[in-house]
Amino acid sequence: MTEDIPQMDDPLDIPCLKHGAMEGLKPFIAAPIHQEALGFPGELVPDWKERALEKMAEMAETNRAFQIYLDTCVKCGACTDKCHYFLGTGDPKNMPVARQDLLRSVYRRYFTFAGKYFPWLVGARDLTEDVLHEWYSYYHQCSECRRCSVFCPYGIDTAEITMAARDILAHVGIGQKYSNEIIGKVHAIGNNLGLPAKALGATLEDLEEDIEDETGVSVRIPVDEHGADILLVTPSADFFAEPHIDGLLGYAKVFHEAGVSWTVSSYASEAANFGLFIGNQDQMREVSLRIKKAAQDLGVKRIIFGECGHAWRVAYGFMNTLAGPFDFLDQNYPIPQHILEFTWDEIQKGTFTFDKSKNDHIRLTYHDSCNVARASRMGDEPGGQFEIPRNVIKAVCNNYFDMERDTTHESTLCCGGGGGLLTDDLMDLRVKGASPRMTALQQVTEDHGVTHMAAICAICKTQFSKVMPKYGYDMDSILSVHQLVSNAIILTGQEIDDAEDTND
């Protein structure tokens, strides 16, 4: 398989327009069974046009963002070069404003004076089946990363339009297989993987053994432990995928050393919430309610989320609205808390002993995940979501280098696989969309000999382990932040094995 990998000199190089470059690219459409499981019609309904317009009218009435963003764009063009999918593909419909216009043109036609009477003047167009399919294609070439919103003078967030479009499509019968199938599994089993409670328990027991073999210390990874203080909700990828799993070992060691009691839940064994991706707040709510129920059933006092980008967005920003109030939890701790907030607090208290040299074979950079960077916070100060992960990294790692500032912090570039696009049927888009980030990484490799990149998002980690090899890195060049913590932490009572140091 030969994909053409975009050649960029600078991560933010603006390509010439390549009209139609990504036209027709579509993820698989959800089968009726996956649609119906979520209460959507199984296939395109005969009266799709009326229903789509009805849904659009409803959104304009019930969602201020939708209405404002469609009305206020002045087509200034400031966002046109801000999307990694545009930078990577050159397709003009991947420019954020052009992506919005795919829907705005229809909104104008049916809901605005100018569009009703002078459609040609304001670029308004009729809703046709072709338009639906164009939506399906280009609204699945957006990772809902919000980078464009940072740079828009009116804060117009294309992610909101993308979510709305996907929701409209699902409501007329055209849902996305990848996301809808996964949400169905969460409802039925409790996690994205469809990993049943028994298998989960067995996996975690194996991991406990691994830690004991490695350190000689018995560290527990409890499941469904009633009366534990902390419920850990983490992406299910942490239970089986690399490098996610090494992050989970890190959380376990951190909790162990901090001496807190904690548990995961088999009922809510998933932090990810793909309801966000498909733009459906009711689905998002149902998934969130599972977490609340698990917390209540287990009688925990605190909820902590593992390393996952969009999960943290939903948890931090929406869970309280959707599933709250959480007045049964201990109000002395943030609700919810991020695992990095927990770890950083304990580091500051001096709880851990680290041997930073355990990470000396790594020259590291850090990828800010978009949902953490632009849709949430850690700590008390704005921007804590950038500082806290870096603080933790620097506490456990000697060689750290940031990528170009225009590609980090609030300007971070998406990994290319977020927002429900982490599916093999979109691999071409994923590889191209990753090219700005990969170019920024190559720069720090050239300048500082960087060998590895850390991230705190399950999707980023999976995406990078797939696409980094195409850009000349090993697939294990992507690391979990808590994997670095796990490498460096010296558990109380751990035998220091000198022989191990030399045979790396």
């Binding site: 087509k75 670029g123 740079f151």
Partner: protein, 242 residues
């Protein structure tokens, strides 16, 4: 006759502008925000948000980070426009206020800066491939309209002077619902006609960015989701907060 036509035009335009904008703003304010979606990092308090909005309105902070050319042209255009508008207050008050008299010379030359800024923005719509792609006819026409307003105004100020005393008398009359005479000066009629047009299309065009800015959830919501519970439609039907 001319006076009557323009008087009616301005009454209608003002009514449409005020009523249209009021209706839009009411709609924006009443449309619920189901979830909290500030784009972070963002201020955690109301005061912080107000300061941020000041910076956005006065300096176009986000646009500055985004694109220096668009920022330069856009900022010069908007700030000059405010000066020019302020200068025009002298035609609506019997005694010219002190500060209006003071800015008179700045306001006059700001007219050139305003047209220059607009010309820059328009040039980008032709020259930059990406912006050409996203421009609709209405985007070009809007620039043409405002440039024509500026151009006709500057012409009256510097080339073909109009009887400004008579214009002021006409305007003061309008404010008191007395319809007087208007000089039959082509540039004046063009200028006023286009201004009325702009007022009429304001509430149904992209000029809605002016009020819209203050309602964009991504910018005006404080980042305080963990401290203050944002109540959405799920709590109680009919009970909505923002």
């Amino acid at each position: 006759m001319l006076g009557t036509i323009y008087a009616l035009l301005f009454y209608v335009a003002t009514a449409l502008l005020v009523v249209g904008l009021a209706m839009k703003i009411r709609k924006y304010a009443r449309t619920p925000a189901p979830l909290r979606i500030p784009v972070t990092p963002s201020p955690t308090t109301r005061t912080g948000v107000i300061l941020r909005m000041f910076r956005e309105v006065l300096f176009f902070e986000s646009l500055f980070k985004s694109n220096k050319w668009i920022w330069a042209f856009g900022w010069v255009f908007h700030m000059s426009m405010w000066l020019v508008l302020a200068r025009h207050l002298r035609y609506f008050t019997y005694d010219v206020w002190g500060w209006v008299a003071f800015i008179q010379p700045f306001g006059t030359y700001a007219g050139f800066a305003m047209v220059a800024g607009l010309a820059g923005l328009w040039a980008r719509r032709f020259l930059v491939e990406r912006i050409r792609y996203i421009s609709n006819p209405s985007d070009h026409l809007m620039l043409a309209l405002i440039i024509a307003i500026g151009g006709s105004g500057l012409t009256m100020r510097f080339v073909a002077h109009t009887d400004i005393i008579a214009v002021k008398a006409f305007m003061l009359g309008l404010l008191r619902f007395r319809i007087g005479d208007l000089p039959a000066d082509p540039f004046l009629l063009i200028h006023l006609g286009l201004v009325a047009t702009l007022m009429i299309i304001f509430p149904i065009s992209k000029l809605l960015h002016a009020p819209g800015l203050f309602f964009a959830p991504s910018r005006v919501q404080a980042d305080n989701a963990r401290d203050v519970r944002h109540v959405g439609r799920w709590d109680n039907e009919g009970e909505q907060h923002d």
